[in-house]
Symmetry: D3
Subunit: 268 residues, 6 copies
């Protein structure tokens, strides 16, 4: 759900106190057009921007649709002034989200060529203010949101282990966390993976391991515990990790470093 | 100025309703460390995040400082719980802004090797919600903000020209705009550049012209009117545009497509 | 984390535009005192109210502490005017949260007398605007938050089953949900419990079953799938449900119908 | 007036960043149904929740209507997805407000059996964030809001009297307060009641007196000064206080301790 | 109470996204100085602006103090950059409020020369967003706030009387309104004044009557009912109305048309 | 663009928690009527208020229209309750803005009688919270907004000159400011005006000079540099300044001291 308050803030920061260039009378139609191939996302957000200014979105692609250069992504109809005011913000947010979906789709495709069952996931490395938009863009690209916020899943980290021991920390957080919450445990050595599983981890995060080490750790884990590879993995590294049998490959770069998809808005 | 309300929203979206993993008693120190070379920015924003949770920032680099891998960017001191809660958001915002500053600096350096006088500028293609943070990151990288919002400078565009003619549109907006506001005019043909200047443009935007055409247009302009090259210019294109004698090269990719700079936060 | 904006709204709604009765000069001390026995909670929120008006909280009990009538829960020191302005809001929020903690503790104790392993959990039936405060009050009373929001855990409900079939719905949401998210399935007949487990449910919710039927369903479930009893369960019903071997007993009344704990604030 | 911003916050806290269970296509109808007898309130708030998500409320009872188990309180029509998202918040707020209205009505009826002229009033002991909703629920139950906020009416309290004397304090606040504002004075001894009246009180609050003492104080007051009984009065105490001839009986428990009225929402 | 959120909005609207002129290093002192004689107000608001940016207000006059040209109203100490950023907003709000206090004081003095007992009151004709600041400025000038908002006092107006009759409307609102709320009745003919009093009005508003008619109406009213003269009364009209024996003279111009008091801020 | 959040705040501050006087059933029409001649503004804001409460504005004058006493400015149609709730806020904001437009128009007319080319401009001395509304009101009255916020135009002030010298400061800010931003320089002596122009000022502000000195300074300036007279200029001073040949006359009193235009709202 995109909050009208948030849309208002986006528009306000782009408009300022007195804009004289968009006082265009009458009605107009508009279309958001892809200028390069990719996967679109953030269209809910773009539509919320137009809605806020009472411009109708008459047609739009589904989140996650593949586009070619020249494809129309979304069409609008409404007052020219409002359309022009919405344009830049709508393009910025959908271009940003589509960039994330496009990169995610690339990683997912690379992974699935090797291993149909592996999931490509985002991380908490999102742009402040855009957690929801970016997580949904990862999903539009075929990826997995991973944990949405700190309260969604417990992550047992090295500082917890240093303080309470591996088993101690897991037991502690199993107790502290709701039955509704999964517990994931970060390990740095393959031999800690089965210990974590034994102690009650739902998921074991194999931190900064190369593919060979990852494979070694995966093999030590029982079937009903998920494994996740994480740590600076690039799209080009995905096939090697996918081949390890790991369940999840998570990549911060999906959200923090994907270039925008080139979209442009045309009126009239 | 970064708004505490905005910081609160950033923290809230990362925290959720009930986080059990950060209930660490006592005080801790922390440091934000560069894991790759680049130019840092967004440190005001990162500091605002720590401030909000009453963690002291005891030391930090200047916005725009060059860092090497391993350099400490910022140090904190305060309650462990608050430090851990601030960490992810502080890293996300400063990594994002530093990515922009780093790419800007690369473009500026590429330009200045050819032409000391040219400015590299951002555009309005910023991430919604982060206009101020991103514009200041462009400045930290040695770039120029370009117009901050629609009210800051009048941009006479093709739709205005279509409706009122080139001279008509410029006269109209000269009249409408405050004396405090510059008027920039977008032209697509070199021969329109001097017409725009004649009609009162402060700046002429040479839209989507290749370097040779850009140079042609620049030569037709009087000295007291600025020229700007714009339209899909990549860092690798910068030297060729810088050589044309144009005053400003603007690049949307500085803000919408710069990968994050790899920063990491360590406590204790 | 309690948001200063939220505290500001609470204070504003109680203060109005021009209050003349609290213009008391000088400093004062204050103490929040229990007027009946119970379990305290919401002290973070009460402290945030005093903090907002720059009144120091010099001492306070832990969330979840048991109090007797006359016990001091929290002490303050600061400007008399600010103390008086904070008082009513601080008492209201901590009395409300403590009422929830007290009722939760009663249910937990009743359950544990019969079965040490069962969890008492809240629901999403919380007071609008107070989700976090109330969930943390449940925890202070020894309870389990249950899911914090719709995104925290997937709940497969009767309408989903009607549309896709039990197995179909579970498979669908296993796919849709992140690997980080548990899937709970609501069933109305004991024999559907093992079907849900088989199809991949992490938790099976036994909806509106009496204790005998609940026990029957629990026995049909494999050990590694959790069971939850839910539906109008009162504190007096808890022992009977606890005896069924169910893992979780959830009760909306913990948050929507607990009377406030009687706390009072005294200055000077 | 219920603020859309407030509704947005309520929905956001229940939804989180990525809910996958409510993506139901098409339109649906819904009805809010009473599962126990009572008095309904908060329907304005429930309607605001549906409105916010563009679900039509096609029919609803009046605030303050009496319902039996099974009665339809409100009907909706609109997109299934939006209806499902609004449901929990709409039920929570109207159940909460209806619980207050129901308890208030019980107290009012108990009072009126003894004395038709007495008013049952709320206090400032409301749930933070819900002052307006709860005060209007008291009205729906036949009660009196009492003062809405600190600025609405001056309350002269024991600390004021300690500082300035009874007459001194009343004179002081008569001067400080607007002519538009009533002045109520809290007294602890019956003989102070006529002194307060004499000194200019519009209303005298008889604090923590038992019914007999209350009656004694009421008899000492002139006719044109109102009397209010307050201090831990339960519904079962109401008839005894009503019989004293007091004008107003105020009860914090109306708002801080009323159990929710059991309402449920059904679609399709 | 001035809300930090409101201060943040004020500062944000003056600052924009990137201000380069206030980057002054080091500390500075500042003083707010009167450039003409008057009565100061809004100093709480000005202090809140400095506080927000962590500039100390080391000394300030009381709200309502009389100043001569050259008098120092408030002194600050803190970072130069923050001081310069706060300056314009702090001057704007205190100049505005002081203008209101100054005009109010002029009206109060004019009234009291004729009649010590009459009150000069504001109205609801305040600048949107500044209700509290302006009402408190009226008080600083020796005036009466009148009703603070629609919920503070019931005003029975001509449209109510047209619908229900004078007595009917008063009876209706006596019933509807809390015992804590006064009821004022607007009349246009002197002979309606005693009818309104008889029917239960606490205050009778004599709408748009000249002084002679006002006097006539006042004489018809019993002593325990207040009278208010209202309707386009200017400061120069005040003595004539004060002489009528009316209790309250209300003037919209106090808040909607008072020129700002000339204040200036000097640093260093 | 007027923010619905801002409108919500305006309405909330006028309404309070429980208003009983505006519960009028049915529909009504309304009209905003001028009670004195002037220039109207703020009608966008008034319309936003009605819109917020879903009252249709069926007709309205243009911003900047001249009105006579009795002219209808705006007509509404919608629910009576919502119309009555919107009325006071809509009148307050449009009366305030129209007062500014009316005073601006008076100054502009006075100036143009002497010199057609001179501009009358506002300043940053606006009412906190209303920067946009007031700047647009100045425009409605035929004036110039001047700089909208600190980021819009660089103003080189005496403290900058004291620190860096006149030429140094101008060079510094030319470098710091975007190419999109004009640089204005404040001078106190006529002979500094050409120095500032020479050093790169786009505009020279002639601070607190009398008309004769202003004229002297204007004559020293080259044609392509604008001049602005500022400092306590009243409407009666405008002709003398207009005769000096200065390009811009700026007046803080347009926004901080214009009396409201008398508008009234009538229903039915």
């Amino acid at each position: 759900m995109l909050d009208p308050e948030q849309v208002a803030r986006w528009l306000r920061e782009d408009l300022g106190h007195h804009d004289v260039t968009n006082h265009v009378p009458g009605e107009t139609t508009g279309r958001l057009v892809a200028k390069e191939p990719g996967v679109v996302a953030g269209l809910d957000a773009a539509e919320a921007v137009f809605d806020y200014l009472e411009v109708d979105v008459t047609e739009r692609l589904e989140e996650g649709a593949h586009v070619h250069s020249g494809d129309v992504v979304l069409r609008t109809e409404g007052p020219a002034k409002a359309t022009l005011r919405a344009e830049r913000v709508a393009v910025n947010i959908s271009g940003h989200a589509s960039g994330i979906a496009t990169r995610t789709r690339r990683a997912v495709d690379a992974a699935h060529e090797v291993n149909e069952g592996v999931r490509i996931a985002g991380t908490r490395k999102t742009t402040p203010g855009l957690r929801g938009v970016e997580k949904r863009a990862v999903v539009a690209g075929g990826g997995d949101t991973h944990r949405l916020d700190l309260s969604h899943m417990v992550m047992v980290k090295d500082n917890h282990v240093a303080e309470m021991g591996l088993e101690g920390a897991i037991t502690h957080f199993r107790e502290q966390a709701s039955f509704a919450t999964k517990v994931e445990v970060e390990v740095e050595e393959p031999e800690d993976a089965p210990r974590a599983a034994e102690a009650g981890a739902d998921i074991v995060l194999l931190d900064n391991m190369d593919p060979a080490t990852t494979e070694e750790a995966v093999e030590l884990l029982p079937d009903d515990v998920l494994s996740e590879a994480s740590g600076g993995i690039r799209v080009s590294d995905v096939p090697a990790y996918a081949a390890t049998g790991v369940d999840v490959i998570s990549m911060g770069s999906l959200t923090h470093s994907a270039p925008s998809l080139d979209l442009s808005f045309r009126t009239g």
